[in-house]
Homo-oligomer: 360 residues x 3
């Protein structure tokens, strides 16, 4: 367990009890909001570590599946809680934010910091190209309901068909996701390590299976509780800070839900493992697009006050398109350097300014 | 002639006389519609076979030209008949549908079925990349009048300039098409088999030149007659079935007009001839964009009740763009696997659901 | 100095005094407009030559920097004069026109004429891919304020935030540009000649440092004066010719400002130096996007009657997007042939027809 204890992120676990104290003392929504945000970060990492440990116990096949499906568990829990509270715009914004953040902020930081240390870094362009193609396909599928909604609005159609199409897209994408997990397993068995799976450090388990399960269970419960606190505090907190709910969804939630994973992507880039770094950034965004977003659409039919469709606002959609095109080009040319990192970050900064100014 | 007789598609020729009987008995528009649809399928294949036979008689140069220009003859005939009847939205929808169908449905099926049998399939990425680039250029040219129409609508321009621009685009594209046929011939002579030409099976002709010409003539006449029947039945039939004219244009006409060719693309992929398979799918869509669409614009000036412009509805255009980007990425990475096939088909399914729900 | 004197472009210097005479004689605005246009062409070349000579004197590092920043000096002067006169639409149109012209007209001509002489021409796809990626990133950054403006218009936002975002984008892009010049220098020092810098012919200087400085100073003064004349004549002249100010901005200004450079790009393609040719076309458009456009936005805050934002009309933006995608695909496939040149030119022709018809 030593390796885990050393991680400085775990100091943030202090914010879990601090949030409880803040709640009991009614210290103000802004403080409660930030305490819950900071508390979620290490819990998300705990879920990731526990999943990985568990994966080492159950063998590569089931383990790979666990890693592939629980990789965004923290974000899924937060968004489900937000969905139940009817914060549908925040949930959709967090989908956009996660994808854009992975493809621009994380890939950009990894390429910049890796490139500053190692100069031009090369990686397998076929593997990266494959991931980029799959990412492009996922984003296009995700964009179709918005295109459709715009087209019918101009022709006086009803919103019912948009919801029906969103559900159709969600089901199709879940089928694609399931097949893609199957594809990765079959491919791994015969060929090369696939780019789509989250990284599995092939070390011995340091936790017993029981410990891993207990940690997984406890972190999930704790994260669910903190998400309730966060979601409860978000509206008064953003009002007090002059931010929009949309901005919280698109910038803050994705950073909180993925902080630990992001740290890994940047760290391995510094170790000149560019292939692994790109696979984390691309794989995580693909999982959001193909698994988390469709699951939320289907769940919303049962748990949300109103169903969630897949219609994004134009600026969100253009941000998604821009991030995907850039990631695809960067991946397709098979090598990276710090200047490419700067450019990815520049687009992220410009988009973030835009999101900040968006009047909703 | 044995090879041809064996093809099960030819059993569908029974629907040619059946359509006549159905017409005489006034059995209802839905039945007549489907009978004419099913009758056109084998006739389209007959035109293809006769063209190929003729090509074998007249030598490679003129033969290649025949293959290149008559490759979409069936679809051209159907759309000309529809144009004369003033079904301009149906004609434009069938242009979109043919391109999207070739790039997503056919390429997707070919990659899926080929990949399931042969695992990862490789093909020359320079050739495929060249075709993808040309396809991208063609689609961008095709999209410009729509962009223009949107821009001027917002600024109070008149539709006359849209029509003028459409004609300008049509003439430019026909010049590009003519030069591209010339380019392919010169390139074939000195270099490698080009990716743009429809497949020529280099066997001995089994039909005499005279037979080929007679078959070509008869099928053309028959297909023209069946197209008249189809076009006459389409409006009452779609009303009876609850479909839209647009849906018939975008899904049914393209499948009918290209069924035989599609079968070939999938068959050769199963035989691990991925290069040929991609060349059929890419080549056929390029021919629609660069030859069929411009010809229809120019012909509409003389035969249609009102001229046809190149303004597509937003969802059509986005479908075209999506299909082209995806096909380009799949082609540029130089190899394919069944998962890529699944993803192309997934986007096709999602688009088809959207087309189904579009309220026109 | 012989090499320079031979260049037929220099005969156009006659139009500098002719413009003065025309002004004194009040010969009519259309004549004055064309005389000033023709006079600017050789002066733009003189600035380029003087910069290059100066670069040879000051050593590779500072010289490279001079070439990189003064490469579009002529266009910058014209647009600054136009900005001061409040012709903001003309200035923005000339940004679009320069980028589209470089990527479609110049790259198209170079590929066509090079390909007709040499058949398939190859170039390093990694270098070209890098430049294409950077170009794509620059265009996406440039497009974000327009996306933002559209999104907020639909939600009742104010234009203040658009201006703020434009300034934010401008500052970000200047930082990226500065870092990219730094990157190129560091890369040149250790690796390969970069694709982004304008071509440096490694010959001995033929002018003394003093001559170069005098020529640079005189041409700058002369071009500034001619720009005043041109800008003063543009409104009556376009009215008299039935053109729009927008058309002058998008087609005429870019050709005038870049004619000399364009000639070089085509000439080296004929000499089978495709890599250099592509680097000029890609490098010049990148300089417009990352240096000229942001500088104009910031300068407009001080010298223009009203600040210039980075919101382009939809057709401009789509032209920029189309040109970038095409250039990227052409660059990424690592080789070119005359047919690709034809297709780039075809898209340019279609866009030019569209620009001609645009009602503003």
């Amino acid at each position: 367990m030593k390796a885990y204890v050393k991680n400085p992120l775990y100091w943030l676990l202090l914010f879990v009890p601090l949030t409880l104290v803040a709640e009991l003392l009614h210290v103000g929504e802004v403080v409660i909001f930030f305490f819950s945000v900071l508390g979620i970060v290490p819990l998300a990492k705990l879920i990731g570590d526990a999943t990985e440990e568990l994966a080492l116990h159950v063998g590569p096949r089931l383990g790979g599946f666990l890693n592939a499906t629980l990789g965004n568990a923290a974000e899924l829990i937060i968004t489900i809680v937000a969905l139940r509270a009817g914060l549908i715009e925040l949930v959709k914004a967090s989908i956009t934010g996660s994808i854009v953040g992975n493809l621009l902020l994380i890939m950009g930081l990894a390429i910049l910091l890796g490139g500053l240390k190692h100069g031009t870094q090369k990686f397998d362009r076929v593997n990266a190209g494959l991931a980029a193609t799959q990412m492009t396909l996922a984003i296009i599928a995700l964009a179709i309901p918005t295109f459709f909604a715009r087209a019918i609005t101009a022709n006086g159609g009803t919103h019912d068909t948009v919801e029906a199409l969103s559900v159709g897209v969600a089901i199709t994408m879940l089928v694609v996701y399931a097949l893609s997990v199957l594809f990765t397993f079959r491919r791994e068995a015969v060929e090369v390590p696939a780019i789509e799976t989250p990284p599995v450090h092939h070390h011995e388990p340091t936790w017993s299976k029981r410990t891993a399960l207990v940690v997984l269970g406890l972190s999930t419960v704790a994260i669910a509780w903190l998400s309730e606190v966060l979601v409860g505090a978000v509206e008064p907190a953003v009002a007090a800070m002059g931010l929009s709910e949309f901005f919280v969804g698109i910038i803050i939630i994705p950073i909180v839900g993925n902080a630990a994973e992001h740290l890994v992507a940047v760290t391995v880039a510094r170790q000149n493992k560019m292939e692994l770094s790109m696979s984390i950034a691309l794989g995580s965004s693909m999982q959001i697009a193909l698994l988390v977003a469709p699951l939320l659409v289907l769940l919303s039919l049962f748990i949300a006050p109103e169903p969630m469709d897949l219609v994004f606002n134009p600026f969100e959609l253009e941000a998604l398109g821009a991030a995907t095109i850039i990631a695809a080009f960067v991946a397709l040319d098979g090598e990276s350097n710090w200047m490419e990192g700067i450019q990815l970050l520049a687009v992220f900064v410009i988009l973030a300014i835009g999101f900040f100014f968006l009047p909703f």
